[in-house]
């Protein structure tokens, strides 16, 4: 088997995209685009995942890997990476598992949660997405990017045929310390949200489970599904499946009505690009208000019954 990786010049970026059952991790195509269209897909049914990256890759490597051991996987990948840099992974669950191990094996700096990346520099977010920092790194680095941050601009060029890289089977322990017993698919309730064209969503500002319940019924009146931020689902105000964002459901509605949501990156990046956005918040300067076509400075808790009354919903 040829070693296509060695053939490329030094300091060329490369995306490493985890794949599960033929689907690339969320943010995979953005990682590929940020790496100039060069991506290495690793996981189960990796080759099949190239289809979802159509238009964003010019060079694809695939490696079939099973099992659950990011450390061992990083050990297997590292020798092939040469001085490819930056090595870019999506900051999805599997990407965040793997990236630190790659950085450790390659003895490189790790740059997390980037929303922009270029050669030798990146912009990352911290403090729950409230602050962005410009970062520079002198040598090669490993970077994770926030899914949804960059967007992609698919090209209709010819699809490259993937080159398969055979990996040394990762040397895992005889008895794994951590064993994957099952992977549960998302709940059907989640699917309905990810397909929804209209979404009404509540954040910490709605104040409690009763308000989320009322918002859900207002949604029904509008033909909209109910969504929530992680703060809301973590507090148990609504089902966990309703969490929108990079670690929840990614949605692509055309109408998004946000009540009491600050608009942290991890939330907004799971939102797609809704055509119409309404935001209700007491803080006129938070990011969600900045995204809105109609931004209303108002107490969401007081607004809900008023809105319900106007839409014929029992408050």
């Amino acid at each position: 088997m040829s070693e296509p990786l060695d053939a490329t010049g030094a300091m060329t970026p490369l995306a490493v995209v985890p794949v599960r059952d033929g689907r690339p991790a969320p943010g995979g195509s953005e990682a590929a685009a940020a790496a100039g269209g060069r991506a290495w897909l690793v996981g189960t049914d990796a080759e099949q995942a190239t289809r979802e990256l159509e238009g964003t890759v010019v060079e694809v490597l695939v490696s079939e890997v099973t099992g659950f051991d990011p450390g061992a996987l990083a050990t297997a990948l590292a020798p092939h990476l040469g001085d490819r840099s930056p090595v870019i992974l999506p900051a999805s669950a599997d990407g965040r598992d793997l990236a630190p191990h790659l950085a450790h094996r390659l003895d490189r700096p790790l740059v997390c949660a980037a929303i922009e990346v270029s050669e030798g520099a990146a912009t990352v977010v911290t403090h729950g997405g409230r602050i962005e920092h410009d970062i520079v790194f002198d040598g090669p680095a490993v970077v994770t990017i926030q899914p949804g941050a960059l967007g992609v601009d698919p090209d209709e060029g010819p699809q490259p045929s993937p080159a398969v890289v055979e990996l040394e089977p990762p040397a895992t322990a005889a008895v794994a310390a951590v064993d994957l017993e099952a992977s549960l698919p998302p709940d059907p309730a989640t699917m309905d949200l990810s397909d929804a064209d209209r979404i009404v969503a509540g954040g910490a500002g709605v104040g409690g489970p009763e308000a989320m319940e009322l918002l859900g019924r207002i949604g029904v009146a509008l033909g909209a599904s109910l969504g929530a931020t992680r703060v809301v689902t973590d507090a148990g105000w609504t089902e966990p499946e309703r969490q929108i964002g990079t670690t929840g459901v990614e949605v692509t509605p055309s109408l998004y009505v946000a009540l009491g949501i600050s608009g942290a990156v991890q939330h907004v990046m799971g939102l797609g690009a809704p055509e119409h956005v309404i935001s209700v918040n007491l803080d006129r300067s938070c990011p969600m208000m900045g995204m809105a076509d109609l931004a209303v400075v108002c107490d969401a808790q007081e607004l809900l019954p008023a809105l319900a009354a106007r839409l014929g919903v029992d408050p």
Partner: protein
């Protein structure tokens, strides 16, 4: 032995809207909900005592300056048997933090962390600790159950899925805040912890490659991504496409209203956009409709 990694963070901060200066509320230093959950999970595992994995010792570890000592003493009051602080600057890079933590927790049967810290929030420290120690990891757990024959965990995966894991050997686990609520310390152990010594270690200056922050500002959402205009189209069309000049789009509006008028404005806007008449829903927003 079980180790718990806890970071003392400002739980209330104000971020300056212009220059992103972070003003920490000095009374809010302490562990995040996730780190408290990590401690509680460790204490519960220690109580149950799972096969081959653990003795009943729980060691709480923090890398940071001495304002973390209060947090560590509270951990002692709650039932941790040792508290260790690795003296490190608050802004040390995650790779340096992980190396410092790993030096203390090496040899533990389990290392339990929070899913992500409130400030840095990358969730990378647990994975880096696992890499430093060369042990397995189970990150982003939303449920952890200790049974005498081992540990069962559910971990958040992408697109709303879950991995069910069984943990039977040395590993780093990270848990989200709602996994467990930290117990309240009793008064006698609380009093005892007040004069308890926190062991302080001074790490060898770890040389791990890291990146540098050169500028900071408040996060602002990036403009929405536009599809590139058709290269074959005439120049004017391309400019119009790029600027979206001729596409119909409501100019953004900011209104400050009381609840009633705000609801009116929202209903009117939804109507203008055509969401109140679309097929499949028969919303008739009228005052006359009964609201009982």
């Amino acid at each position: 032995m079980i180790a718990v990694c806890m970071k003392s963070v400002a739980r209330r901060v104000e971020v300056d809207a212009l220059d992103a200066t972070v003003r920490a509320d000095p009374t809010s230093w302490g562990p995040s909900a996730a780190d408290e959950a990590a401690l509680e999970v460790a204490l519960r595992i220690a109580q149950v005592g799972i096969a081959e994995v653990v003795a009943d010792d729980v060691i709480a570890v923090c890398a940071g300056p001495d304002r973390a000592d209060a947090m560590l003493r509270t951990a002692l009051a709650c039932g941790a048997t040792r508290a260790v602080r690795v003296d490190l600057a608050a802004d040390a890079d995650s790779t340096v933090v992980a190396a410092a933590l790993a030096a203390v927790v090496a040899g533990c049967d389990l290392v339990i962390c929070g899913d992500h810290s409130l400030d840095r929030g990358s969730g990378s420290v647990p994975a880096l600790v696992a890499a430093e120690l060369g042990v397995a990891q189970a990150l982003g757990c939303v449920a952890v159950a200790a049974a005498p024959d081992g540990l069962a965990a559910a971990r958040r995966t992408d697109r709303g899925g879950r991995d069910l894991l069984r943990i039977g050997g040395p590993a780093v686990i990270s848990v989200e805040g709602p996994v467990a609520r930290l117990r309240r310390a009793g008064v006698p152990p609380l009093l005892e912890s007040m004069d308890a010594a926190v062991e302080v270690t001074f790490p060898e200056p770890a040389r791990r490659p890291h990146a540098r922050v050169v500028a900071s500002r408040p996060y602002r959402p990036r403009p929405r991504w536009h599809r590139a205009p058709d290269p074959a189209a005439p120049p004017l069309r391309r400019i119009l496409d790029l600027t979206e000049a001729m596409t119909e789009r409501t100019p953004p509006r900011l209104l400050e209203l009381a609840a009633g008028p705000a609801a009116d404005a929202i209903v009117a806007q939804l109507g203008d956009w055509g969401y109140l008449t679309a097929a499949g829903n028969d919303v008739v927003p009228t005052e006359s409709r009964s609201v009982e």
